[in-house]
């Protein structure tokens, strides 16, 4: 099913990799040097196959940030923001409380940290959690070349403050999150759907929106399809 390549190439992975899990052949690669990468630089993959340590397949995991100057600074400045810091595969993740989002983001943008480039805004839907949504912001500083991820959790009906006043790039990104997840941003100048039609019902990227689900009424009305398959 999930075989990805059928070609009769001699190099295609037959059984050997099944074994590799137990015997720990050269697969693992550098778990150690991944964690070491300060600013998530993608370590050079092409390593000479000679210098490989076979055993101990270490699964990458979330590690708490220690001695991180940004984390320390944020904790000092925003004691109420509940800032925590972790890293995964060398990429730092800062989690903050929703209430202090604007203050922390404004600080990250304006202070000496100078995260002037908002790379991306997106959302994760953890259906069933008390705070269902997790907003994810990627920030980059052109001055220092640092990339960070800021996360904050929001409950289902909670408004998330818009960061459009801090980065103009957030405008469409937040509109897309609104379109796909139904999260309302307070203070957004023009919160409309962006990819889906304005009168569409439902938010497709929510986990309780089935992939086959469509807004049947909309389809009937606009596409004039009489019989829509259920």
């Amino acid at each position: 099913m999930n075989q990805e390549n059928k070609p009769p190439e001699p190099v295609s992975p037959g059984k050997p990799d099944e074994k590799s899990d137990s015997s720990g052949a050269p697969t693992p690669g550098g778990a150690a040097d991944n964690a070491a990468g300060g600013s998530e630089a993608k370590e050079a993959k092409p390593k000479p196959p000679a210098v490989k340590k076979p055993p101990a397949k270490k699964v990458p995991s979330y590690e708490d940030l220690t001695d991180d100057p940004l984390l320390k600074d944020l904790r000092e400045r925003f004691p109420d923001a509940g800032v925590t810091g972790q890293s995964f595969l060398g990429q730092p993740i800062y989690t903050i409380e929703l209430g202090s989002l604007i203050d922390v983001m404004g600080y990250l943008r304006g202070s000496t940290w100078k995260f002037d480039y908002l790379v991306d805004v997106t959302c994760l839907d953890y259906l069933g959690d008390q705070k269902r949504f997790c907003m994810v912001y990627h920030l980059y500083s052109h001055a220092s070349g640092q990339l960070i991820r800021v996360k904050t959790r929001a409950a289902a009906e909670e408004m998330v403050p818009s960061v459009t006043s801090i980065w103009r790039a957030a405008d469409w990104l937040e509109r897309e999150v609104f379109d796909m997840f139904g999260i309302e941003f307070s203070g957004h100048p023009d919160l409309r759907r962006i990819l889906l039609p304005d009168d569409w019902l439902g938010y497709p990227l929510r986990k309780d929106y089935d992939i086959k689900l469509q807004d049947q009424a909309w389809i009937r009305k606009h596409l004039r399809i009489r019989k829509v398959p259920e």
Partner: protein, 370 residues
């Protein structure tokens, strides 16, 4: 309100697109005009929305891959690279040197092919039809190379998690070398047609100027950002997939106008040739696929894998919950974010310049709408 007469100077609202030959796909721009001047513009997008991100949450990691070819259909190879690098990072799969080198070569070929489509259509929009024919002639050669290696010309399904589908077919290296030997002269030829062409300069110089600060503010990446003088190229800023081994220059502009962005893309094509030449000169041997488990099941975690696509920063934010199906794959599309700046860029320009500015942003609606 009085009945307007024909002599009244009125604001006029018109639709450019979605079916308009110069909007490069189904982009609709609602223009507010005062005569020929643009007062405001509002983009309406989403006509090509297929829910690729939703589909990704219902497919295994390997089955997601072909869908990404169909987001930015002019840069299918780059799209594949960003995603496989991310999954390989999560899975800690090591890719053999040969596969790494071939991936870089094909991605650079893709960059050239994508820039050629941009140049051809951009020039055609501004009235230079000859360039279009020349560009597509050269692009055809690249598509033939794609077909030889990937078996497809456009939606290539180029790479596999852990390496490549197959090794270079016989004669591929010679054909690739022939192309990069000939191609720089062809770029000179395009430049002869345009760079000092009076009409071209009039249509592009001083059009759609954006300052460096504003470009960053809008989150621009790729040539639109470098045109304003910021040398931000992910191949250099955060090297991925082996780019740190190759030498190349990052062209930047000064004025941040359409003309500078044109010059940058022309130079990028030459630089891509340079990278391909280095790859071919020291193409390592060996296997083309690393050890990949049968079932791709990354541990619980997340990774943001970004590459420098032909249009800017293309990112894949992959979140795994430990199953064979991604919890979420967020595609950070470069042109979606670049297009946001259109509103700002067209203000005060003439309607004809809107065409030039849409062209210079190099939008691909398949990627914007996903």
């Amino acid at each position: 309100m009085d009945e307007p007469t024909i002599l009244d100077a009125q604001e006029l609202e018109i639709n450019m697109g979605p079916q308009h030959p110069a909007t490069h796909g189904v982009l609709r721009v609602k223009l507010k005009l005062d005569g020929e001047r643009v007062l405001d513009a509002d983009c309406v997008i989403g006509y090509l929305h297929r829910g690729v991100e939703k589909i990704s949450e219902n497919r295994t990691y390997t089955k997601c891959l072909p869908y990404y070819d169909r987001t930015d259909y002019l840069a299918a190879v780059s799209n594949a690279l960003g995603y496989v690098l991310g999954v390989e990072k999560l899975m800690e799969i090591e890719v053999p040197e040969r596969a790494v080198a071939i991936r870089i070569m094909m991605t650079e070929f893709n960059r050239i092919a994508s820039h050629l489509v941009w140049l051809g259509t951009h020039a055609m929009d501004l009235g230079a039809l000859t360039v279009f024919l020349y560009c597509f002639r050269e692009r055809e050669e690249i598509l033939k190379l794609f077909e030889a290696l990937f078996g497809a010309r456009l939606t290539t399904h180029a790479f596999r998690i852990g390496g490549l589908w197959m090794d270079l077919p016989p004669g591929f290296e010679e054909a690739a070398r022939k192309f990069i030997d000939d191609f720089p002269a062809k770029v000179d030829e395009y430049e002869q047609l345009l760079t000092n062409n009076r009409i071209w300069i009039d249509r592009t110089k001083g059009i759609g100027i954006i300052s460096a600060e504003e470009a960053i503010e809008f989150g621009l990446t790729g040539p639109p950002l470098r045109g304003s003088g910021i040398p931000y190229d992910l191949r250099r800023a955060r090297p991925y997939g082996g780019y740190e081994q190759y030498e190349f220059d990052i062209p930047v502009g000064e004025n941040g106008d359409t003309y500078d962005r044109y010059l940058i893309r022309m130079e990028e094509m030459r630089q891509s040739c340079r990278i391909i030449r280095q790859v071919l000169d020291r193409l390592p041997g060996g296997p083309i696929r690393g050890k990949v488990p049968r079932v791709i099941k990354p541990p619980v975690g997340e990774y943001y894998s970004a590459i420098e696509g032909p249009r800017g920063e293309l990112g894949y934010y992959i979140v795994s919950e430990g199953s064979a199906i991604p919890f979420r794959v967020r595609i950070r599309p470069p042109t979606f974010i670049n297009l946001q700046a259109l509103k700002r860029l067209v203000k005060g320009h003439l309607v004809a310049d809107v065409i030039a500015i849409i062209g210079t942003l190099d939008v691909v609606l398949g990627e914007i709408d996903r």
